[in-house]
């Protein structure tokens, strides 16, 4: 597995989580809760990729 590409993907997902968290913050109702779940899932995947590559 090419960890360079995975790290770039992790950084990209982190950026998506950052922008997404701001967008979700001003939402309400179902959109807010769905957004929170989405942002957290994206962040967990990003952390997982960084963790995986740090062990390589």
């Amino acid at each position: 597995m090419d960890c360079g590409a995975l790290k770039r993907m992790a950084v990209g997902l982190g950026f998506v989580a950052m922008v997404g968290s701001v967008v979700v913050m001003v939402e309400d109702g179902v959109a807010y809760w769905a957004g929170v779940v989405g942002v957290v899932v994206i962040e967990v995947v990003s952390v997982g990729l960084l963790y995986f590559c740090s062990k390589e």
């Binding site: 790290k7 770039r8 992790a10 950084v11 982190g14 950026f15 998506v16 989580a17 950052m18 922008v19 997404g20 968290s21 701001v22 979700v24 913050m25 001003v26 807010y32 809760w33 929170v36 942002v39 957290v40 994206i42 962040e43 990003s46 952390v47 960084l50 963790y51």
Partner: protein, 228 residues
């Protein structure tokens, strides 16, 4: 969206206490990082390089949080203080280098604080805190990997920082204040170097300059509360 972000932070006794706890964290960090190492025996032992560094920081932070709890009345503020105390101590003490596995420290820190917000303010408060720490995570990963303006260790610090603040509005204001403190610090650093070594030295040494991130982050929170 702009109107959402220009709303002032809530003013309450709980936030005054919050400020005191953060101030204690900032002071403990600045003192331990910047001054104690240069004072010689016995104070140098409390510095980042000394054996007793964590003991000094723990005492300073716990003292600040005791004062903070004494100054707060709402029941919610007590729960907030527990979180602030816990993560102020963690941020100030470098526990990850002292018998605590780094992975547990990083992930458990942010998740634990989101849980504290959930206990204190319900599911919505926990969700706001989760968004705030995700914002900080994304910003710092991008800053470390793409912009090279921060160190890898700043990621975990800022995840905890976002979780402690509990909301993106608070994080945004604290970031602005942190950068104001940072710019003032850099101005005086440049002034000092220029007076001793000349303007060329400022340019030469400025290229590798990295202002301490943690203490300024905590000072940013304090200024956010005091100024607004």
């Amino acid at each position: 969206m702009i109107a959402f972000f220009v709303q002032p932070p809530p003013q309450s006794l709980g936030f005054a206490a919050y400020g005191l706890a953060c101030l204690s964290g900032a002071l403990a960090n600045v003192v331990c990082d910047e001054f104690l190492a240069d004072l010689g025996h016995p104070w140098a032992r409390l510095s980042r390089r000394g054996v007793w560094l964590r003991v000094g920081r723990w005492l300073a932070l716990i003292l600040g949080c005791v004062v903070a709890v004494m100054a707060s009345e709402p029941a919610e503020a007590y729960a907030r203080m527990i979180g602030v105390a816990l993560f102020g101590v963690i941020a100030g003490c470098d526990l990850e280098s002292w018998h605590v596995p780094p992975d547990w420290y990083t992930i458990g820190g942010a998740v634990g604080m989101v849980g504290v917000w959930g206990v204190a303010g319900g599911l919505r408060a926990a969700a706001d805190a989760a968004l705030a720490q995700a914002f900080c995570y994304g910003a710092m990963v991008f800053g470390v990997a793409a912009l090279k303006v921060a160190a890898a260790g700043d990621i975990k610090l800022m995840m905890q920082y976002g979780a402690v603040l509990g909301g993106i509005v608070a994080v945004g204001w604290a970031f602005v204040m942190e950068w104001l403190v940072r710019v003032v610090w850099m101005f005086f650093w440049a002034l000092g170097v220029a007076s001793r070594e000349g303007v060329e030295a400022v340019v030469a040494r400025g290229r590798g300059l990295r202002a301490p991130h943690g203490p300024f982050a905590w000072l940013g929170v304090v200024l956010w509360i005091v100024v607004l």
